[in-house]
Symmetry: C2
Subunit: 335 residues, 2 copies
């Protein structure tokens, strides 16, 4: 039910994912009538038998406070979906709904993995190098994180990147600012010490925000406040450029004509650059797999998010993090 559009996006995306992945079964949670309305009448039996509708009487609105969702929406599509993971019925949850409510509900119902203090939000960005992506966390699950939280993020992120992208030893960088001498704030300096001494993370040093897209590293670690500001600054800049581009092409008849011709190119560019639509964001560090799709995701983008959840299930990311925590704790003792 989540996202700006709801079942008209999520249900077609579910069907698309079912077609692409014959081993997949999806439980579509929400208002049964709304869901059935958008299902095609001529749905093939091979899809129909792998699509289970689970009615939920409530939904969390996009601007609802997480506390309100937790307290008042116990039969929301979001809450029921996450409960299904806890009950062992579903292996992952994908939602385009309210991020804060999803995070709070997932954390409340599933709890964090043993040894992990805080979950983090991670997503990937395109880079200047073709087919090379970079992951970044935390994008806003927590603020005022301590150095050892950022260190846990680095371990969890490394596992995700190596599982999803097949990079054996992902290069991990710490987001910092460029003043050489007083390099970074206390949080970053303390995290750098932990990462430098780590035996489980391949730490390559600091990275500045204008180098995020260069493709020189695999994973960038930062505090959730900073990561969220970085993400939204990129979005804001991208939107402004698109607006200015439209205005520039609308200036006179010649530019209008060129704009019409160039429109498909520009539209594709917008899609390629917009990080929030680039793919699903994973809530990492929980006893279960939860993928957050952008609220404004279209069918293709939401299908990507389902695909990402599937890959995380295949690699059993939570279990891998659980195993690694032993190494982490040994590692911390030695530091």
């Amino acid at each position: 039910m989540g996202g700006d559009i709801g079942p008209q996006v999520t249900v077609p995306a579910a069907l698309s994912a079912l077609s692409a992945h014959p081993q997949l079964t999806l439980i579509v949670v929400g208002d049964a009538t709304s869901i059935e309305r958008v299902l095609p009448a001529n749905l093939s039996p091979s899809l129909k038998e792998r699509l289970i509708i689970r009615h939920a009487s409530q939904q969390v609105s996009m601007d609802e406070l997480p506390s309100s969702a937790l307290r008042n929406k116990k039969d929301s599509s979001m809450r029921v979906s996450i409960n299904l993971i806890k009950e062992g019925i579903a292996q992952a949850c994908v939602s385009a709904g309210n991020t804060g409510a999803l995070m709070a509900t997932a954390r409340f119902v599933l709890k964090t993995l043993p040894g992990i203090d805080r979950p983090a939000i991670i997503t990937m960005f395109p880079t200047a190098i073709p087919d090379k992506v970079v992951y970044m966390l935390d994008l806003g699950a927590n603020v005022d994180s301590a150095a050892h939280h950022l260190y846990q993020f680095a371990i969890m992120g490394s596992l995700l990147v190596s599982s999803l992208n097949g990079v054996t030893h992902p290069k991990v960088a710490l987001l910092n600012i460029g003043q050489e001498e007083i390099k970074g704030n206390e949080q970053v300096k303390q995290t750098a010490v932990l990462l430098t001494n780590s035996k489980v993370v391949q730490y390559v040093g600091y990275i500045e925000a204008d180098a995020i897209f260069l493709g020189s590293v695999d994973l960038i670690v930062c505090d959730g406040f900073v990561g969220n500001v970085a993400l939204k600054s990129m979005e804001g800049a991208a939107k402004l450029i698109v607006k200015f581009t439209k205005e520039a092409f609308a200036k006179n008849w010649l530019s209008k004509c060129m704009g019409l011709m160039a429109y498909p190119v520009i539209r594709n560019l917008k899609k390629r650059i917009d990080p929030s639509r680039y793919n699903g964001a994973s809530l990492l560090g929980l006893n279960g797999i939860v993928v957050k799709s952008h609220g404004g995701a279209n069918v293709l983008a939401f299908t990507h998010a389902i695909h990402q959840a599937l890959v995380e299930v295949e690699h059993d990311i939570p279990q891998r993090i659980r195993e690694q925590v032993g190494l982490l704790l040994e590692d911390q003792k030695e530091n």
Copy 2:
């Protein structure tokens, strides 16, 4: 001598500023031979008499550590320029040099204004509203700033915006992330309390980073670490879009042809969006006016930076901040 190009940019920009402002006299500080080499032979007497060359035997390199510049470069063009302010010979300094060294030197030589604990770097950005700009500080002069530092930034920024842009009561917002309930980190929450109770700042609440460019506020206040990450994230996103655009237009002969036609439009767009080139950044809170131009600034951009310094001189920004500090202290007592 500063910037990626040096006198070949700064000297023509100086001449351009002298032509535009008949009341202006510029002291061009640096290697006299290098400066004279780029001066045109047929320089008009009206310009020549207002251009003073002051030889300096050293220069601070772009990647030099601030501490090294302070210790070893006492006759650098940067140090001499800032000394000229302290000696009362110059009223402002404009540099395209090493930001960290400029900040450290300016702070060491000029000191902060009474009542101001920390200087801040401020610059303006374009917005989606034509002719409307938004200012933001701190962009990286300090990290780990306390709430009362951010409050001082808000006061200094408001004064600059009202002086430079004629906005009587600039709308001031605090940069935050979008999680409704646990809105922001401790630093932001504490600053919000100070700003809400302020009688000298027109505080309008939180703003998210994707709304920086909307043009809804006049000034955005943030910690230097966060501001620097925001600035560089925008730069990174803008550069990636430009790269992708070039690649998209280079795809086939039709797109290449369109790209050739559209090149001037795209180039202008790049200039319009690139925040670091948009104008000079001011070092605010010092006993003197220091404007930092982007290291990669061209003649036009560096001329803008000189123009900005001139406007700050005309409004005597440091004196206005000094006066306002009385109000600030009263204001703080009442809180």
